[in-house]
Each structure stands twice: as C-alpha cells, then as structure tokens.
Symmetry: C2
Subunit: 248 residues, 2 copies
Amino acid sequence: MTAASSRGALTTQSVTAAAVELADDVGLEAMTMRRLAQALEVTPMALYKHVDNREKLIDLMFDRLVIQMAPELAEPDPSSALSGVSDAGSSADWRDVLREQILAARATMMSHPWSFEAIQTRTLASPVVLAYMDRLMGIMFRGGLSADLVHHAMHTLSTRMWGFTHDVLPTPSASEAAAESGGELVSEDAALASFAASFPHIVRMAMTAPGAAGQCDADAEFGFALDILIDAFEQRRLSGWSSTSAHS
Amino acid sequence: MTAASSRGALTTQSVTAAAVELADDVGLEAMTMRRLAQALEVTPMALYKHVDNREKLIDLMFDRLVIQMAPELAEPDPSSALSGVSDAGSSADWRDVLREQILAARATMMSHPWSFEAIQTRTLASPVVLAYMDRLMGIMFRGGLSADLVHHAMHTLSTRMWGFTHDVLPTPSASEAAAESGGELVSEDAALASFAASFPHIVRMAMTAPGAAGQCDADAEFGFALDILIDAFEQRRLSGWSSTSAHS
DNA sequence: ACTGTAGGTGTACGCTGTATACATGTCAAG
DNA sequence: CTTGACATGTATACAGCGTACACCTACAGT
C-alpha cells in the first residue's frame, strides 16, 4: 500500500480542490507543486499525472470558482440549461438579475483572494469562463439591450469588474472547447457550429455588434467606461449626493 | 578595468531603467535578476548594491511609470508644485482635466504591458503613487466634489481603472515617505504632519468623508461603481444608444 | 496466466532569488 | 605620500522552484 492509496486516489478534481484550499491558506505564489504534493501526501510528480502543469492547474482552479458562481455551468452538455440563469419568471428587471449575478461573483472571488491575481495572468478564456460570460450576455439580451450595447457593457464590466483585458471571441481555447464538447476530429465549420450552440449570446454579439467581429477598439471601450463614471460623478456632484443618504 | 566600468557606473536609476526596458521586451516574469544583470553586463549580485530585492525593484519600476504619467511628481520637494496639475486657468472643466489625466495614465500603462500585472501584486502605495493619487483628488476637489464623493470616486476609479484594491491611507509606506521627506528620526506626530503637507488632498478626504477614517466598506464601494455602470447601460438602452453615433 | 496501462516514485536538470565572503578602485585624513 | 575606510562589483553557494525522464507496480482485459 502506497502513501497515496491510504489517502484515497488522486483525481484532477481532488488535486484542483486541494490546490484551491492551499492557495486560500498561503496565497497563489506559495501554492507550489511541491507544497501541494505534500498536502496530498504524495510525490510532486504524481500531480502531473492529473494536471498538465502549474499554469493549467491555476486555470482549473479558476474554473472551479466560476462554477461555484454559477453551478449550472458544470453541466458538460449545453442543451440542458440552455440559456441559463434561473430567470424563471421574466418579471425581474434585467438590472437586478445582472447585479445579483455580479455581486455573487464578487463574493466568490473575495473569499478566494488569489483569484484576483490569477485572473490577471490568465491569457485565454476557458470554456467555463466563456459559458459564464455567455450567461451574462444572455441576461442583457433578454433585458432588451442591443448587441452593440451588450458588447460595450461586457467590455466595461469585464475589464473593470473582473480584470479581463483580453479578447472574448473565438480563441484557440474556444475551438478546443468546441472540439471537446463535440465528438472527435471535426471540421472547423463543425467546431464553429458547436461553439455557436454552446455560447449563443457570444456569437450573437459577435455577429451583430459593429466592430466586434474584427478586433475592437480597446481605447474606445475604455473611454466608454470612463465617460460613464465621470458623468455619474458630475451628476452626483450637482445633486448634492451623499453616501449616508444613499438611494437604494 | 572591470566589465562594469566599461559600460558606465550602475545607479539605482540606471538599473530601474534597464529593468523597465527588459520587462517591456520579455515581460515581467521573464525579467529576472540574472537576465537584467546580463543586460547590464554585470554580475547578478551587483544589482543588489542598488536595489533591495526584486520586489522593491518592481516598485521602483512602477514609480518610474507614474512619474512618466505626471513628471512634476519627480520633485522630491513637495512645496514646489504644491497642488499640482497644469490646471493653470481654472477655466477647464474638472471632468476634462480628469479624463485627460486618466487617459494619459492609461496610455503610459498600455505601452508597458507588464504594469498591469505589476500593479496587482503591489501591496503598498509608494510615496510617488500617493502623490499621484493626491493629484487626482486635487482635480476633483477643485471641481467642487465633496470629500465623500471624492472618496467614492477614487475607489471607483482606482479599483477599476488601475486595479488598486488596497488602502490608500497611512500605511507603513506613508510613514516612511514622511520620514524620508522630513529629516531624520522624527516623532510620529511630525511624520503625520509631513504626510499632510505632502498629500493635502488625501488627508482632507480622510478627515472629511464619512467612514473614510476607519476602514471603508469595500462592498459599498463596489456597489457604488456597479450601480453607476448598470444605470448607465439602462439609460443608453432607453435612448437607443449606438456606438457608431457616439456623442462626444 | 499474460500483458498493457494508469498512476504512483526517484532522480536529476536548469532555473530562480539572494546570503555571504571577498576583491578592488576611489577618495579623505593623517 | 601613505593609509585605510568605504562604495561597488565579483564569486561562490544554497534552498527552492517547475518539470523531463526513467522506473516500478498493481490492476484490467483478453
């Protein structure tokens, strides 16, 4: 009997879970492969049987957080919870749904402080993250926002609220995602179709919003957000706003 | 004649400058002490005569960027450019001044991509960063914003536009700053007074804004920003906004 | 019973930041 | 002019990192 077998078998899931726990305790930088192995009472190299490398592990850790924000994203089959969000009655204002969703995301990230650092260094959006963003866009589309506005809103929210700075649209990872969710070796067309099936709102936005298809103007996006904020400050200045008498 | 002397003497400045250049080329993570030493044609340990350690070097690198955003902050003597910003004629709308300033900051950061990663991992605000923030607050105070609103606005802007998540007010670093700018060993009162002299707007905000003296409610700050954005989206939805016909 | 494979171990390499001890060139005091 | 302190660069070394590679070993399927 090996040390590992006494503690139960390792899986990608269990390794990821242990990594999250360790990072919670000691921070992301101190979450080393060796320390993680030690926590699992296992040799460092054992981890690599379940995880490609440290960077990919951090990807998995973050995915885990995203799933915690929106558990229905765990489904590998996209057809189950098709256009997500327990938005059951359409009675709720889209703004409330969106706010609730983002505050929940924030709460999750706040309880895992390493996630802020992690998000900044991720370069590609994983399928899970794409699904999460698709869900956010779904909320806005159902609220009646144009693709153009959804596009800008996503940039504003993601760059600011999440720290995502990078592109959302079909990346290598997106094709991978499609390939995974689909069958084996599929044609590129089929991969794209699968992508569209999994992330309908992302595709809708990309197809409809001006400039979203090519690469979008990052400076314009930034200015969009900045003007919103500055205008809001001015408006509150004029109306004698005070935090103690905050409205709703 | 050593290899170093052929290339001119090392200084903290020259090391920092070389570090910035190297990070621009290869990224922050790949900017290792050894590579930096090699670029300077010097032994790795030579760097430590001019820089405490790698983390402090990154602090210096970032300070350098901040000074590039606002060159007058380079003055070690705060009395020279007292309440900063070439705001000469008070004719300009504070919003334009602020926007211009932030866009300049962004331009600087965009041309040094490592700065985004760097900013996230900094834990304390350096005197230079404090001075920069003080300047930003000065713009808002002169625009007529209340301390309360300045406080919220700074949180909104700094968390979102910069990524600052941490406290602004008297930190260990602040006391250091005061001690440096002052004389030798001074009393804590004197240090505080020096701080107030160097960063008048920060102190004004801290003394006046409700809750700013203690620790402020991070969740409330976040909600403040979030509501601004969501409300702005709704407003644009209702008015049929489109990015192609952007107003100013 | 045989064998392939999945999942562990052990060892080793190149890299990192940096502590410590040492050399040397410069400049001030005697 | 000598002397010695000091500032600055060097040399060596260590602990820790991610991970490639070779190996073992227990179980699954034929």
